[in-house]
Symmetry: C2
Subunit: 398 residues, 2 copies
């Protein structure tokens, strides 16, 4: 079993980079993408080889960047289920509304995928200390995998990041710092430390391997829906790595001849209070400007500026998808309703995506019988701050 | 695809019961066990039929009690990973210390298995309202599946049950009541309501199907370790349904001829402050007495009296296992160490089981090269109360 990785490529200036050493961005400032020998892979490996292995993202290891399997750092990530949200679908006029529930990952979020591949590759390339800013969940995931790999971890997050994610980072033994500000402010601190102490920076898209972990969501969706990809995939977009990753997965499968038929419309949903990519989409721009005064209860999409903005915009546009916003009120309402009606306690970011399913149905982007798949990026139980309902004290016999 | 269920049987007085109607206990007071036509099943189904289906507990549906698949209530439960705890194993002198991480289930615990099968069967048999006392996690799981099934749910729990589990029950729309006392006191309230309002009671082992869900942990372990079952399986024991269920699974597989070789030693671990079954084991008794003054930080094992005590004791003794206790200090210490060294944030009950691996190694029940598998019954991130470490506020550049 081997990786078919051939190199790192800048999607902007097309420069090639060595994949045998720890690398961050291209000199031109762009994130780098991992390239593989897809011809050889498609000749020497069959989809059924993957399907015979235990579930989990490492079943796709030929299309992942780790060279030696002894460097794999795994906590059983990936292989998350897809199931219908029947009641919400009925309400929205969608007969096939599905959710892929990424809450059933180690650390309770999809961030585990990027962390498993990112930390494994960092270990393979000899990183001693990893540093990153985070909205919360990425920090918790990278802290877990770094602890398992024996790599020192430094995390900086907004002081109002979800309490559970703060506690998780500390529990895994990461040096955990709270910053008065947003993830972009935390990023400034981390960059100072990186420059001064030589830490390896693993901020969103600052290293090329997190995206390879996230792309396995796309590989799984392809496997889990053998009769064809969904008409639309809705993704709550902060840094956008998951959307970029799934799109990369579909293009790679297509290039290998393993994927026939239409690609899904990729739909980017952001919060009204923090929508840099939606604004750029509406204005026809290729890049997003910094979103001033960012605020939303969905911490994971409170990202005022994303390094991969142009890649998200490209995937949305070339897939015939769209980019749209929902309000915090809509998020809370949808969150509550999805738990009560379909028994799924999703995260606020996932609730934004569920609500967006109604919006794309109403605007006619999908029809009643089209399959619409929503990514729930994390487990709702991590967000006890938002659960305001209270249990009743028993005072007399039932 | 069909269920091979043939009936319900009392393991004490051997009386047969009709499986076509909602049923609780035997007249003799014992829980009932589901029986199947194992001969026919082993002739007509192959292990590879199961392995070809998507992961998750419903792949075993011939050995589960639901007759019509339209009654299956699923949120993608089961199919949880097994991975090594290498550093903890090194410390304990165990070269193959594994954990099966049940935190990666809907609602974050193994309770989802029992709830998926229990609620599915209750739906099939026409239940309108389900009521149960809970230490916390079972209530959250049954609330989720009942919401999805459109069945009304009543939950009663100790007022000091973990905050996350209280909030989850409310979020799923269950009527959630807090009781000044233990799970046994909550049980008294529920029994009053059941008698008065005709609710269906789903307290631990009061209905026969939860155990069928839990037994799928055993079926998965058998599939995940194709070279042979572990020498010992360690299970944190409150009501004991998981241990009873796994043992039932192994006996069924053996009866079908699908399992060769030795069965694992089943190890029951309880907290020093609440150890009714360990006490009965030590005193050579078949039943456990009510444990006065029960207290432990591991809410899931704070169960002073278990209806299935005699079944747990039988499995432990006939497998050549043991029953032992750990202290709350050991639980907290092991919990912290497992997160920091192996990157696994387990639950306090899981930490008790990890610590017990050291104890059975020290007493010589297993050797250095024996495979020891620990059940982590839930996700550690649900226990923010126990995470006392704090993040640091950033005041100057790194």
């Amino acid at each position: 079993m081997r990786s078919y990785i051939t190199g790192l490529e800048c999607p902007k200036c097309k420069k090639k980079h060595d994949f045998r050493k720890l690398t961050n961005l291209c000199e031109c400032g762009s994130p780098l993408l991992v390239r593989y020998d897809l011809d050889a892979l498609s000749r020497e490996v069959k989809p059924s080889d993957w399907q015979k292995r235990p579930e989990g993202l490492w079943r796709y290891r030929e299309l992942l960047p780790v060279l030696d399997e002894k460097n794999i750092v795994s906590l059983g990530e990936g292989g998350t289920p897809v199931f219908p949200l029947e009641e919400m679908g009925k309400k929205y006029g969608l007969n096939k509304l599905l959710v892929k529930d990424e809450g059933m990952n180690p650390t309770g979020t999809f961030k585990a995928r990027g962390a498993s591949v990112g930390v494994s590759k960092a270990k393979e390339l000899g990183a001693q200390t990893i540093a990153m800013p985070t909205a919360g969940n990425a920090g918790a995931a990278w802290a877990a995998y770094s602890a398992r790999a024996g790599i020192k971890m430094i995390v900086a997050m907004p002081e109002d990041a979800p309490a559970t994610t703060q506690a998780e980072c500390v529990a895994y033994g990461a040096d955990t710092y709270l910053v008065d500000g947003l993830i972009s402010d935390a990023g400034r601190y981390v960059r100072q430390g990186v420059a001064k102490h030589g830490w390896f920076e693993a901020a969103t898209l600052k290293e090329p391997y997190r995206i390879e972990g996230k792309k396995t969501m796309g590989l799984e969706i392809w496997e889990q829906l053998p009769h064809g990809l969904p008409a639309a995939i809705i993704y709550p977009t902060g840094g956008g790595v998951g959307l970029i990753g799934m799109w990369k997965a579909f293009l790679e499968l297509k290039a290998m001849g393993w994927l026939k038929g239409e690609l899904p419309k990729m739909v980017c949903v952001q919060a009204e209070g923090c929508a840099p990519i939606v604004r750029a989409y509406r204005e026809g721009k290729d890049h997003a400007e910094f979103f001033q005064g960012a605020h939303t209860i969905a911490a994971g999409v409170r990202v005022p500026s994303a390094l991969g903005d142009f890649l998200v915009l490209d995937a949305v546009r070339s897939s015939g998808g769209t980019a749209l916003t929902v309000s915090d009120e809509e998020i809370l309402e949808t969150w509550k309703e999805t738990a009560e009606k379909d028994g799924a306690l999703i995260c606020p970011e996932g609730a934004a995506a569920v609500k967006a399913a109604q919006l794309i149905r109403d605007m006619g982007l999908v029809g009643a019988d089209d399959t619409v798949l929503v990514l729930n990026t994390g487990a709702g139980m991590k967000y006890t701050e938002l659960m305001t309902g209270k249990a009743k004290k028993v005072t007399e016999p039932f």
